[in-house]
């Protein structure tokens, strides 16, 4: 129970830190570029939406900073994120929620797949030390891990789009389509997702393989594995339930830390493919100096990562009795 409370406390603390970063950044930057953005809004919007923006960026000088800080928190939690300049006159919330499913579908699914596949490959390559899997994958992934995600995305485009014409150039679906729940549309969405998904998968799987392999090598030399062998348990049982189960624990914690890297890479992959997800919208917001949209997206990405980390904490708790008892 103490473990749960501590992790929840950390969740809240990080969330608070992000909100504060969001609040402080525009105020500390020389010249406050958000003021220029506000000028572009003047005369086009009025009332509450403008008020929310003024408070978020510190343009409103009538109120004290502390009052603005609290109003900003209130606005954020009640969904008053202001208007988007890029997609004027859309609400920021509307833009964010229409981009979210794309990213969850693409990045979320591939990240989970990469974690599962990488853990399995790492487990097997440590199990057969020096075998075929072990001599091919780890060195390969050391090289791949040095490749920037977006470069692999560019090369994928060059090979499969420009040269082979197998996949489309980008975007989430063909613009001749009408979005709807029919097989044609779903097939088209999957067709557009193949290449970006493959790129994210290939670049993120390596990290899991390497750490899992190294953890597994340590657990394989533990006494309890020798004990399991002496008892004559089946190799599969030893591999999964004894060595693998213990080796995966640090990897779960590692998942929390590496998730940020994966998300970072995915943003650039979305950018290369003009995929209509959160990352692509974030970069278009930056390009158009749409700070309201930009900050909300940053918050959303962070919250998504934090929720994933929290979920991993609960998985760790289920697998590791030490986390349950000691906290």
């Amino acid at each position: 129970m103490r473990y749960v409370l501590r992790r929840l406390g950390f969740f809240v603390a990080t969330l608070w830190a992000c909100l504060t970063i969001n609040f402080v950044l525009p105020r500390f930057m020389p010249g406050n570029p958000a003021v220029a953005m506000m000028d572009r809004f003047k005369g086009r919007v009025s009332g509450q939406a403008l008020g929310a923006l003024e408070i978020a960026f510190g343009v409103n000088n009538n109120e004290s900073a502390i009052r603005q800080y609290f109003t900003y928190f209130g606005n954020t939690f009640t969904g008053h994120w202001g208007l988007s300049l890029t997609f004027f006159p859309d609400q920021v919330s509307h833009v964010v929620f229409s981009a979210l499913p794309w990213t969850i579908g693409l990045v979320g699914v591939t990240t989970v797949l990469a974690f599962i596949a990488g853990t399995l490959v790492g487990m097997l390559s440590a199990w057969r030390r020096g075998g075929l899997l072990d001599s091919v994958f780890p060195p390969l992934f050391v090289i791949v891990s040095a490749f920037p995600y977006f470069f692999l995305a560019l090369m994928g485009l060059l090979l499969f789009n420009v040269t082979l014409h197998w996949v489309p150039l980008g975007f989430g679906y063909s613009n001749t389509d009408t979005p709807g729940l029919d097989w044609h549309y779903i097939g088209d969405v999957l067709y557009h997702a193949i290449l970006p998904a493959t790129v994210i998968l290939v670049t993120s799987v390596g990290g899991w393989v390497l750490t899992m392999r190294n953890n597994m090598i340590s657990t394989l030399s533990e006494d309890y594995v020798r004990m399991a062998r002496a008892k004559g348990l089946s190799p599969a049982r030893i591999m999964f339930a004894y060595a693998g189960r213990n080796a995966v624990l640090p990897n779960l914690t590692g998942f929390a830390m590496s998730l940020g890297f994966v998300v970072s890479g995915a943003i650039l992959v979305e950018y290369v493919f003009s995929y209509p997800g959160v990352g692509y919208i974030l970069l278009s917001a930056v390009e158009n100096e749409d700070y309201a949209l930009m900050q909300t997206l940053f918050l959303f990405i962070t919250v998504a990562v934090l929720i994933a980390i929290l979920a991993m904490d609960f998985v760790t708790m289920a697998l590791d009795p030490r986390a349950r008892t000691q906290g």
Binding site: A13, A17, L25, A146, F150, L158, I217, M257, V286, V305
Partner: protein, 309 residues
Amino acid sequence: MSTAALPGGRVSGAKAFWARFRAGPVGGLARAIASNRKATAGFVILAIFCFLAAFPGLIAHDNPQAEIYQPTLQPSGAHLLGTTAYGQDLFAELIYSTRESLFIAVMAGALATVLSVIIGVTAAYLGGLVDNVLSLFTDIFLVIPAFPLIVVIAAYSKNGGDPIIIAVLVVTGWSYGARQLRVQALSIRNRDFLVAARLRGERRWRVIVSEMLPTMTSLIVAIFLGTTLYAIVAAAGLQFVGLGNPDSLSWGTMLYWAQNNEALQAGSPLWAIMPGVCIAMLGAAFALLNYAFDEVSNPALRPVRKRRK
């Protein structure tokens, strides 16, 4: 005082120099690099890039930024990699870009390492409330996704140039190392030699700097290599999306212009491929060195030699 007299009295000249060199830290490092294949490969690649960064003019004779040639030429004897859509010589631009890319990466890596040493070791050594606060601070920075944060900060300080990029990379890159250093510093905190130093009445910072840090050198080097790798990729990404200085000479900026001109579709794919390959090679050099370093300091990870009859 610093160089102890060699056994057997004075040995003159070059012989003594080499003996001392081999026994010293530089010699040890050289032997470690030569004995590990991954380390050798990483070191050679890095050395080549350092040479290019120092003397680009020896390799490439064209002006890297002058837009004086016919645009979008295919590779030829006069233009080894062809020209860009602006009529610049691609090869010269690539070679001259080494300096800035390498400088940003190493600078950001070094500064982030210094910051993680300061925060990680301070937290472990002082303990108590300071440790709790600094650890929480480290963990928060660890889980905030770095790239979105980099983008947000860079967006507010548009076209700030290299100092801004380096600063942003340091802010987002120090936390992982700080956490590792804290764990290691905690484990050696109560060793006898540190207790002895405290009992001698040494000042706190002196104990940390001259007693504690030397024992942590290998971890600090590993952190530097890892952070620099991170900085290479992150800086390239930042410049690629146009948040760097678009007039600068660097690989990420080259990719930005290539992407802006749709180089892949427009028939000059080398414009996008070559800077990417260079980034990957430089990254691979640091990844290989880091991997080799892991093997040197953790014997369990060394490749097993198969014994067959």
